[in-house]
Subunit: 304 residues, 2 copies
């Protein structure tokens, strides 16, 4: 049964990766995702799929990995165990569109198991979520993105969306800037339970994965033909700097990947292609740029 | 006597800041350093001086700060004390030239004191150093930069340069990339001693500060009129990404500044103005770019 759970999740994420990259390549029309398969010396490996210099997507990655083996030292410290084995399987994606009117999106769905020295499973959990980082705020887009995720969660339990929405606002927060990375979405981690509870979470996480394309693609299609100025592009590059700051200073997944000597290029595919840091960049009063920042400083309820 | 030490160092760094910004503004010719004075709510403040969009310097900061007051929580944790006060005074600079043939440079000189609850000084130390980050390697420049610092140190003790050179290679290292941030220089921290020893270090640190302009300015003058291609500029922006990775993932000073809620714009002035991250960027075999990376992966002795 435990083996079946892993196999089901692996099949799910590999199939989802195919569906997502096929559809996004079709939407882009100019570039497509290129695949790098890699192996992890200690066990397992992954399929990194990256798109660059597209018509819509300036840079993006939709990566899966299934890794396992002896617990690396940093994981022993993190999980407070002395030895043992682990298994981790997940899909992680980040898309950085060229047009600043299309938001950047990030999503991740994962399953993790810990084993003791006798190879007994001692822990298991699901995690994941999906969040949106606009450069120019269209409230309809924020509402749509949240609504689709809420719909997927409500099928399972109506208590989940408010919890995961709040956790997302709290997690994707640039403490040192006093502002959110984006306008949120959902975030959940360490969803532990007995077998029946894990079955429940499995179904929920899979539905969240399936909700990704319907949550994001309509936004891309709605905004892709909007024109933008050099100034708007400039602002996007400044804001991308904040994205880098979050990922390199605060993101647990990124830092943990670097510490455990994961595949660097797969981990850092999340970083935007072109970025700026000006000293003390300021927005104009009553501008669209100020409106965005105000929203990042004051997380909203997108669904009433 | 203790008070005089602080006053001497403050006078020194404020005067050095004037000399450095005056000379660099004159060298740039187009932009000059603009000053932001700031105050720290808990005590003290600083003079942030930034140059942007210059003829030579695309972005740079030469900042001083003199801060003191109750020990913030993260400092209590770091120094293993429960309460008390601190005093810190220093100059920190980073210069990002436009021309990829001119290296980026970083330098810092600082003095720190800790006090117990009875306001007794219980610890005091000097720290600092200066390191060079070329995009295109000119061995003469690397040798010059190291030689000037070695000369300044040799006046005090010939054992210092080899120690500080090694510490610099070890500190400015992107562990996750298996390469140095640059070609090194000097790095030293926690130089503790009794009063006489502190006098010795004070003289040494001041001479290191005075050595900055002669260590860097001749390199700028020698390379500023070299032409560069779009491809060379592209490579510079990719390498600047590594600079960002070091500063946000590994640099103790930056992370400590963010944690203690220092003035964000003064801390992050160190980040380069325009940066790129490509997926799995590769250099051509036997190119100048490959030569640089080989050098960063294999720290050299620049002075025989």
């Amino acid at each position: 049964m435990e083996g079946l759970r892993k196999e089901r999740f692996e099949r799910f994420i590999l199939d989802l990766q195919d569906r997502i990259t096929e559809q996004l390549s079709a939407i882009d029309g100019k570039s497509e995702f290129l695949e790098d398969k890699w192996e992890r010396p200690g066990g397992g490996g992954g399929r990194t799929r990256v798109i660059q210099n597209g018509e819509v997507f300036e840079k993006g990655g939709v990566n899966t990995s299934v890794v396992f083996g002896d617990l690396p030292k940093p994981m022993q410290v993190k999980f407070g165990v002395e030895a043992g084995k682990f298994y981790a399987c997940g899909l992680s994606l980040v898309l950085h569109p060229e047009n600043p009117k299309i938001p950047t999106v990030h999503a991740n769905w994962r399953y993790f198991e810990l084993f003791d020295e006798k190879d007994e499973r001692v822990d298991a959990w699901y995690g994941g979520g999906s969040d949106l980082t606009p450069y120019y705020l269209f409230e309809d887009d924020a509402k749509h993105f949240h609504q689709i995720q809420k719909n997927a969660l409500d099928q399972h339990d109506e208590a989940l969306y408010p919890q995961f929405k709040k956790a997302c606002d709290e997690y994707f927060y640039n403490e040192h800037r006093n502002e959110g990375r984006g306008i949120g979405g959902t975030f959940f981690d360490y969803l532990r339970a007995g077998e029946e509870g894990l079955d429940f979470y499995e179904g929920m996480v899979m539905d969240m994965g399936k909700a990704f394309l319907p949550s994001y693609v309509p936004i891309v299609q709605k905004r892709r033909d909007l024109s933008f100025s050099d100034e708007e592009r400039y602002f996007q590059e400044i804001r991308r700097g904040r994205y880098v700051e979050f990922n390199l200073v605060h993101d647990r997944g990124t830092l943990f990947g670097l510490k455990t000597k994961g595949r660097i290029e797969s981990i850092l595919m999340s970083l935007p292609p072109r970025v700026r840091w000006d000293y003390d960049f300021q927005v104009q009063p009553n501008s669209a740029e100020e409106n965005l920042i105000h929203c990042l400083q004051n997380p909203r309820e997108w669904i009433s």
